[in-house]
């Protein structure tokens, strides 16, 4: 039976893993390769590396670390950040990444999703969506350039419309980052994820809000997501992956044991 995936996310800035609260005030957590290796050995099912500065700086992700990760990691990993063209993506995939994830560049030029699908296949095209619940309008809205708070801006897209659009254009997976929850460890945005799940026929990964092991059980059971992504709870040692997996198995969720 297909297992639900536990996905540590490593936000990368200048070759270091960092973590901010609600996308701000980034603090350095450590070097990429040893952290990645530790997570793979601990039982992570997949890793995501976001170069959070790339989209905002107009840079492409520094390539050398992708290859250093590919050398030591024996689980799938995805690279995100500043991938604007088929050529950018091709270089990262050649260095050993299994998937590439695009976010702001897809909003700027949605055709990129189709181009990547045609060039590399649907399976490696992940679209990351930063979704913010606007209390005033009562709606979920898509934001872009979230790596730099000075450039972060609301787009014209409602999250539900953008989810439909990226699927229609050939995305293979969606990572839905619920910005209101990000970094505050109060639980995943179950209501939003349930709503998006109903609109999403491709794998859906929950992101933003994990604070306890129970939050993982809830998001798998209540929102039926394919994977749950988290950063700070793993980086700070609040949740140990092996213990998390044991609990999820005990809770009756299909999980790959370590």
């Amino acid at each position: 039976m297909l297992a639900k995936r536990i996905i540590p996310c490593l936000d990368v800035r200048d070759g270091k893993v960092v973590k901010g609260v609600q996308f701000r005030n980034h603090e350095i957590i450590g070097d990429i390769v040893p952290l990645a290796q530790r997570y793979a050995e601990a039982g992570a099912d997949e890793l995501v590396f976001y170069d959070i500065t790339a989209s905002s700086d107009g840079r492409v992700v520094d390539k050398t670390w992708v290859q250093r990760i590919a050398e030591v990691i024996d689980i799938p990993f995805c690279v995100a950040g500043g991938i604007k063209t088929v050529d950018d993506a091709g270089k990262i995939l050649e260095m050993g990444a299994d998937k590439i994830s695009i976010n702001s560049p897809a909003l700027v030029r949605p055709e990129l999703i189709t181009e990547l699908n045609n060039s590399f296949g649907q399976q490696c095209v992940v679209v990351g969506i930063d979704s913010f619940f606007d209390v005033a309008s009562g709606q979920y809205q898509v934001y872009q350039f979230t790596g730099d708070e000075n450039r972060t801006q609301k787009t014209q897209w409602l999250t539900s419309d953008w989810v439909a659009e990226v699927q229609q254009r050939g995305a293979g997976e969606i990572v839905l980052n619920c910005m209101n929850q990000d970094g505050v460890r109060q639980g995943y945005d179950i209501a939003q994820l349930q709503r998006i799940r109903n609109l999403c026929n491709i794998p859906l990964i929950a992101s933003g809000g994990a604070g306890s092991m129970t939050h993982f059980t809830e998001v798998f059971k209540q929102a039926d997501v394919d994977g749950a992504l988290a950063a700070s709870v793993f980086h700070k040692g609040i949740i140990e992956i092996a213990a998390l997996k044991a609990k999820l198995i005990a809770d009756g969720i299909s999980i790959r044991p370590r």
Binding site: L2, D98, Q123, G172
Partner: protein, 198 residues
């Protein structure tokens, strides 16, 4: 010592396959040179993307007849596995026809596609490539097309319906999953391939 050659299909997972083999202590050669491939002790055919593009690349490199004539062990991975078959409905393209099977859209009975993530095996045969595998082992799959279970199945997998996870015919082996990205269980398949004597 004769070499292990990874066919340079121009596809994306070549370096991951190279590094996975290197972690097992073997330094492989990546090549699209027919002479080097023919002289190899063993050959790996990786592949990611669409069957149509990948077969076009093999054709451009004039490697189709080379791969068809190999007598040494040949391992196809993911799309590389699919290309070992007669044809693929992904772009309606003729493939290498080393194993009598057809690559068809995965009939997932309503389960989400692509089939992406870690899944278990069933119907595991006693073939040397499957040594040490159990139904509790998880392997990493990413695909929307598949080959139906057949007499060539060395192991199957189930996702809405059963499909072939590993196929084999004489010197030719194919794995639908990514052994290079399947942790220790994936490394076991690569190890078994390196140890395999025809």
């Amino acid at each position: 010592m004769a070499q292990l050659v990874i066919v340079d299909t121009g596809c994306a997972n070549i370096s991951s396959v190279y590094f996975a083999i290197k972690r097992l202590g073997v330094d492989a050669v990546i090549s699209h040179n027919a002479k080097i491939i023919k002289a190899a002790a063993k050959v790996i055919l990786p592949g990611v993307g669409t069957a149509h593009n990948a077969m076009a690349k093999l054709q451009q490199a004039e490697l189709i007849s080379t791969l068809q004539s190999l007598q040494q062990p040949l391992l196809g991975i993911c799309l590389g596995m699919q290309m070992l078959n007669r044809d693929s409905m992904e772009g309606n393209v003729a493939c290498l026809n080393l194993i009598n099977g057809d690559v068809l859209p995965l009939q997932s009975a309503g389960l989400r596609l692509p089939h992406m993530g870690w899944n278990t095996l069933c119907d595991i045969s006693s073939h040397p490539l499957m040594t040490g595998f159990t139904e509790q082992d998880y392997l990493y799959f990413v695909h929307s097309f598949a080959v139906a279970p057949s007499q060539y199945s060395l192991a199957n997998c189930e996702y809405g319906t059963k499909f072939a996870a590993v196929i084999g015919n004489n010197n030719v082996i194919g794995a639908q999953f990514h052994p290079e990205r399947s942790g220790k269980t994936g490394a076991r398949l690569l190890h078994n391939f390196l140890e395999w004597q025809l």
